[in-house]
């Protein structure tokens, strides 16, 4: 047999297998739901729901002795969109409100606030924050500092005082100047959702064939193991890309995340990531042998690692060395880095290429191990 006809018959076999997979997918609509409905539903829910931009933080302002100075200070809080200020007459009431979770912070102006303002040391303003949510506590304390600064400027201007600030910090935030958290959360969410979809589509596929004994039937045909794997991959890849186009479209047009890199880099990287995610599903499915165990592994190994270890929300650089090393095993880590860069910064090859390499390595490992494990089981 010449090589040409050999290649031709291989192509035909593959086409037959892919057609069979497609027919199977069409019969159980849950795959189509996973690929098309899930990204839309989850991205809608999370894109609107997940935000780190705190506004209208409830704050208790305790004014023990009302007066002109206190009112001026309070005005800085009432004008700020960051606060929802409630005025309390005594610290005790405010503390009760904080205990009950009605306010996140307490700002206290003491009885002698007006007198102390005129002394050399200045008046102390007490700020008590609820430290349970340390991140919000820090943000709130930053906001209070901001309101204090505004008031200080106003105070000095009115009295013709010279405010002395030795060093002034000037901040410039690149790529996201308004610090809009949605701009980085939405690309990260796309990565998490695609991880789920990739694993959900394929995690059960091989296990099901083994469990039902149809894998043996497949293997007595002239199909080679690589052809079986490709045949499984292609239909789900096409489905997954459909879902991905939807997700990226929503990120761009619904959530208005700016796209500063090029669309083709975005899709090329996404296609590569999808192959990796599907490969992970196939690997789970092959190693687990039963659908039951495959399902459990998929629950454990996909969502939470992608959520917590991908750099989606927690900075990888701040994790201890061992944990940083573990993040290298998480495909979403590379994809999140690529997405955040391509969306917000542009085609920065020094970021994209190493991460693409990481994905290529992971994908080869996943598919390679799947291939080996499947072959061995025949012997």
């Amino acid at each position: 047999m010449s090589r040409d006809t050999h290649a031709g018959s291989s192509r035909m076999r593959l086409r037959g297998l892919i057609r069979k997979e497609f027919l199977q997918i069409m019969r159980d609509p849950s795959s189509i739901a996973i690929a098309f409905l899930m990204p839309v539903f989850l991205l809608l829910l999370f894109g609107y729901g997940v935000s780190l931009d705190s506004e209208h933080v409830p704050v208790a302002l305790v004014v023990e002795q009302p007066g002109v100075d206190a009112a001026e200070f309070a005005a800085a809080f009432h004008q700020s969109r960051y606060f929802e200020t409630a005025v309390y007459p005594s610290t005790k009431d405010a503390e009760q409100a904080m205990m009950a979770g009605r306010v996140n912070a307490i700002v206290v102006l003491r009885q002698d606030f007006a007198q102390q303002l005129r002394r050399k040391d200045g008046a102390p303003i007490q700020l008590i924050v609820n430290g349970v949510d340390a991140n919000t506590a820090r943000i709130v304390s930053g906001y209070v500092q901001g309101a204090w600064g505004k008031w200080l400027e106003h105070y000095a201007l009115q009295r013709g005082l010279q405010l002395e600030v030795p060093v002034q910090m000037e901040q410039r935030v690149w790529f996201n100047s308004e610090l809009r958290s949605r701009n980085f959360l939405v690309p990260g969410l796309v990565a998490i959702i695609m991880t789920l979809i990739g694993a959900l589509l394929t995690a059960m596929v091989m296990a099901r064939e083994w469990e039902r004994g149809t894998m043996e039937a497949l293997l007595v045909t002239p199909l080679s193991m690589s052809e079986v794997i490709i045949g499984k991959l292609v239909p789900y890849f096409i489905l997954g890309m459909g879902g991905l186009v939807l997700a990226v479209g929503m990120a761009l047009f619904l959530f208005e995340v700016p796209l500063r890199g090029s669309l083709w880099v975005l899709f090329a990287a996404s296609a590569l990531f999808l192959v990796t995610a599907l490969g992970m599903g196939l690997l789970i499915s092959t190693v687990a042998r039963s659908q039951f165990v495959a399902g459990m592994v998929a629950l454990i190994a996909t969502f939470l690692p992608a959520f917590l270890l991908s750099g989606f929300i927690f900075d990888i650089g701040s994790m201890p060395g061992v944990v940083q090393a573990i993040t290298h095993l998480i495909a979403a880590r590379y994809y999140v880095a690529i997405l955040q860069t391509v969306f917000l910064a542009g085609n920065v090859w020094s970021v994209i290429l190493p991460n693409v390499l990481g994905l290529v390595i992971l994908a080869s490992v996943f598919l390679g191990v799947t291939w080996r494990k499947s072959r061995k089981r025949l012997e």
Partner: protein, 369 residues
């Protein structure tokens, strides 16, 4: 009746633990994940790489920049000489920020004019950027205070004294580790329950179970107990690790904590069984488990506050048992909240559990394939 339930529980445990792989999957990963996630989930910056671009020749700028080297948040990885070097460093993610002092920094400072310190931050992860800016602001403010004290300048008319309740050093790990207790408990209950009925349906053994003398309530109890017992054991283990390994203070009473854990397990197991009995195949069971678990965790207030969500999404979170459980965990761990203050969190979990169990029991009999 007790004998029948006992037999079913034994059978369920065997089905879960007989297979070596499923045994490993059930016990190993949650504990490993606790260790890994416990260290990963933090908003405290550590050794963030930054570069210094100092055009000033004075001692003062060097003094201020030395304060950055002393901070655990930052670690200096580069010293640059030209403005053109900033962009490649930040674009390529080699540094998160560049701190820039202009040529007249010291002169301005000594001359009583405001000296400006420019901070250029990579905003790709805007939360990390904001945290870095906050840390820089703290350093600059401390420098200013010392400077004014040393040079006898007049103080501003008022200053802020900050105190944090419940978590004086604002360690974000104290916030996240109790949250991880909740996440992993949910994960374990999903592992045990979400596929249990679906598997029997797919293999046809559920019909056999229905024709035995077992009543649906008994089947429900038999299916519930393994998930409940395994969940309780793992939750206890995770709580122990949180207290003794991560050293998160546990101020409240164990009774209050366990009331929360038991109610949360009931709602989690209930929802898991409901999903499982709704699914015709294990694939659908897995899909259902994800569709419940992923929003339940992301919208629970674990990482991003519920208060920041739009009202509609906030209303949706009322259906999420994790939301209540997280408040119980953080309240009991960090605030030492007494039982009666947590009743508003307890009853919704109980309600979700009862509703889910009723639906699951109904589906047992009415969903036939």
């Amino acid at each position: 009746m007790l004998g029948r339930i006992y037999a079913l529980v034994i059978k369920e445990f065997l089905a879960l633990l007989k297979d070596k792989r499923s045994r490993i999957v059930l016990i190993g990963p949650p504990l490993i994940q606790l260790m890994v996630f416990g260290y990963a989930a933090t908003f405290d910056l550590k050794n963030v790489p930054f570069a210094v671009y100092n055009e000033d020749r004075g001692v003062e700028s060097r003094e201020l920049l030395a304060a950055f080297d002393g901070s655990p948040s930052f670690s200096r990885v580069a010293q640059i000489m030209r403005e053109g070097e900033i962009a490649p460093l930040i674009d390529g993610r080699q540094v998160l920020m560049v701190v820039h002092a202009g040529p007249d920094f010291s002169a301005n400072l000594l001359g009583g004019k405001p000296a400006s310190l420019q901070v250029i931050v990579d905003g790709r992860n805007s939360n990390t950027a904001m945290l870095a800016i906050n840390d820089v602001r703290d350093i600059v403010e401390r420098f200013n205070r010392d400077w004014m004290k040393q040079h006898g300048n007049s103080q501003p008319p008022a200053h802020i004294e900050t105190r944090a309740w419940f978590n004086p050093n604002l360690e974000s790990r104290w916030f996240f580790v109790p949250g991880i207790v909740g996440i992993l408990t949910l994960l374990v209950t999903m592992l045990v329950t979400a596929l249990s009925v679906a598997r029997e349906r797919e293999q046809g053994t559920f019909d056999q179970l229905l024709v035995t003398p077992l009543r649906p309530v008994e089947i429900l109890i038999g299916k519930t107990l393994p998930g409940f017992i395994i969940g309780l054991a793992e939750a206890s283990l995770i709580v122990l690790a949180a207290v003794f390994w991560f050293k998160v203070p546990l101020l409240g009473s164990l009774f209050t904590l366990y009331t929360g854990i038991v109610l949360f397990l009931l709602s989690g197991v209930g929802v898991g069984l409901m999903i499982s009995s709704f699914a015709a195949t294990q694939q659908q069971g897995l899909l259902g488990a994800f569709i419940f678990m992923v929003p339940a965790i992301i919208l629970s207030g674990f990482a991003t506050p519920i208060r920041n969500m739009p009202q509609l999404v906030q209303d949706i979170t009322l259906l999420d048992p994790m939301r209540y459980f997280l408040l119980v965990l953080r309240g009991v761990f960090l605030e030492g909240m007494p039982f009666h203050l947590l009743i508003p969190q307890f009853w919704p979990m109980a309600l979700i559990g009862i509703a889910a169990f009723s639906i699951a029991g109904w589906l047992f009999r009415h969903r036939m394939y």
